[in-house]
């Protein structure tokens, strides 16, 4: 249970880090919080020749909130993002998801951008980014690109980050007014990776009738799965909605795989039950969200 040997690079600013990553190319890996990478090294599931430690890049340790959403730098720890009140006011789904990521001690070190880079389909942040239609900013020596969530995740533990590239930030856009969100999951033990998790975003009109309902799923598919369940709920309110119709509609699109933790059938059942719970709470919350956020949201067109 000891990591294999590697060469260690400790850049102190972004330019140095990109130089180092450029130099090591395919043989290198980024070390952020290490809360996924170091277990993999300890278990010898990974053996990179070089590690580029970005913990010295103070410039990437930020959570910046503007009226349109929240930008999270690569060195912001889960716990810092979770505690950030400004971010919570604009994108409440972030904290709703983060409190389900591992235990507080792991969140003190693990980074939010690192968990997206890790692209684990059981990672709560992947579902949050996908449901919000967020994006990742990737930098390499001499070039920067922004990739939408739907193009970022390629498969289990696989993102579109290329050798030599560093994910410098993630952007979580604000949802339109009168939209409520919720994140629920079931894990075998509190704090473990979930057997199934559901994030929901529901928009209502001035009469509190549902105009849009979308969900994203954890641990059910190789990349985060986002479903539009509006058809099953449109025009209904929190009191008149037929939640089971939404669960049935969702169930038709889900093809869970069995594994050591749960059979496919059990997972599908969890998904239906959690879909209902998440949608119901999100709908109730939507009524309490201001009709129009103080500034125009950048996500209007996406969630229309």
């Amino acid at each position: 249970m000891k990591p294999p040997a590697f060469r260690y690079h400790a850049p102190t600013d972004l330019a140095e880090a990109l130089d180092a990553l450029d130099g090591v190319g395919h043989d290198g890996k980024v070390l952020a919080g290490g809360q996924s990478l170091i277990p993999m090294l300890n278990m010898r599931l990974a053996a990179p020749a070089h590690l580029v430690d970005i913990n010295g890049l103070a410039e990437l340790s930020y959570v910046r909130t503007d009226p349109g959403g929240v930008a999270v730098g690569a060195l912001a720890r889960h716990a810092e993002v979770e505690a950030d009140e400004a971010a919570h006011a604009v994108v409440p789904l972030l904290r709703q998801g983060l409190r389900l990521v591992a235990h507080p001690v792991i969140r003190n070190r693990g980074t939010t951008v690192g968990s997206l880079a890790h692209a684990d389909p059981s990672g709560e942040m992947t579902a949050v980014l996908a449901l919000l239609g967020g994006s990742m900013t990737l930098a390499r020596k001499g070039a920067t690109r922004t990739v939408a969530a739907e193009d970022f995740f390629l498969g289990p533990l696989e993102s579109c980050i290329e050798p030599g590239e560093l994910a410098v930030a993630a952007y979580f856009p604000r949802l339109p007014g009168r939209t409520g969100t919720e994140f629920v999951e079931i894990a075998r033990r509190h704090g473990d990776y979930a057997m199934c998790g559901v994030a929901a975003a529901v928009t209502v009109d001035d009469d509190l009738r549902i105009t849009s309902a979308r969900t994203a799923y954890l641990s059910l598919s190789p990349v985060p799965l986002v479903l539009d369940l509006t058809d099953a709920l449109i025009g209904r309110t929190a009191d008149t909605a037929e939640w089971n119709d939404a669960a049935t509609l969702a169930g038709a699109s889900l093809e869970p795989e069995p594994d050591i933790h749960a059979t496919a059938e059990y997972r599908a059942q969890l998904a239906r039950v959690l879909t209902v719970r998440a949608l119901r709470t999100a709908t109730e919350r939507a009524a309490r969200v201001e009709p129009n956020p103080t500034a125009p949201s950048t996500t209007d067109e996406r969630s229309a």
Binding site: Y8, G34, I38, P39, N42, A79, R109, H190
Partner: protein, 177 residues
């Protein structure tokens, strides 16, 4: 598979601030912080159970915040203040309130998991000095104990909060006199 079989392996001189003392060591970059504390610095209070972040026995405080010693490299810990279980008691040997509470409430049996609980709980009570039982349970949810059972550990957390208040009150009384 000893390190000497890899002649080219990088070695780095590091300086670590542990329990307020500046310590030096020469380590390979892959040296886990937990191993560095135990083997290079002789601080064996930090225990090692699983080495993949699950059991919590190796938990130490980095700049006050509890983190897994087995999921950090010693080289990455430079420039940060590290507190291990050895650093919790006062210089005169007075136990930290959390240590006293675990003793009073039988919060340990074999003691293997205890250093991790003590570091986590000491940090938790600084943030939340008057926790409910539910909050106490949540605070220790990332630490595993295989023998005591969690009832007495939860009691210890609540008792530690009381002891902290009692000591503060005594202090205030003493100052007033």
């Amino acid at each position: 598979m000893t390190e000497t079989q890899i002649p080219t392996e990088q070695r780095l001189d590091i300086r670590l601030n542990v329990n307020g003392v500046l310590r030096t060591a020469t380590v390979t970059p892959r040296r886990l912080l937990s191993d560095c504390l135990r083997h290079d610095l002789g601080l064996t209070g930090t225990h090692v159970g699983c080495e993949h972040g699950v059991c919590g026995a190796c938990t130490i405080r980095v700049d006050g915040k509890p983190m897994r010693g087995c999921l950090m490299f010693a080289v990455s810990a430079q420039g940060h203040e590290i507190t291990t279980v050895e650093g919790l008691a006062d210089a005169d040997g007075t136990m930290h309130p959390v240590q006293q509470a675990f003793r009073e409430c039988h919060g340990l049996q074999c003691g293997f998991c205890t250093p991790g609980f003590l570091t986590v709980v000491s940090a938790f009570l600084e943030e939340n000095p008057t926790p409910t039982e539910e909050e106490a349970r949540e605070a220790i949810s990332g630490n595993l104990c295989r023998c005591t059972g969690y009832q007495n550990i939860v009691k210890s957390v609540l008792r530690a909060a009381e002891i902290t208040h009692e000591r503060r009150a005594e202090q205030a009384e003493g100052d007033a006199r």
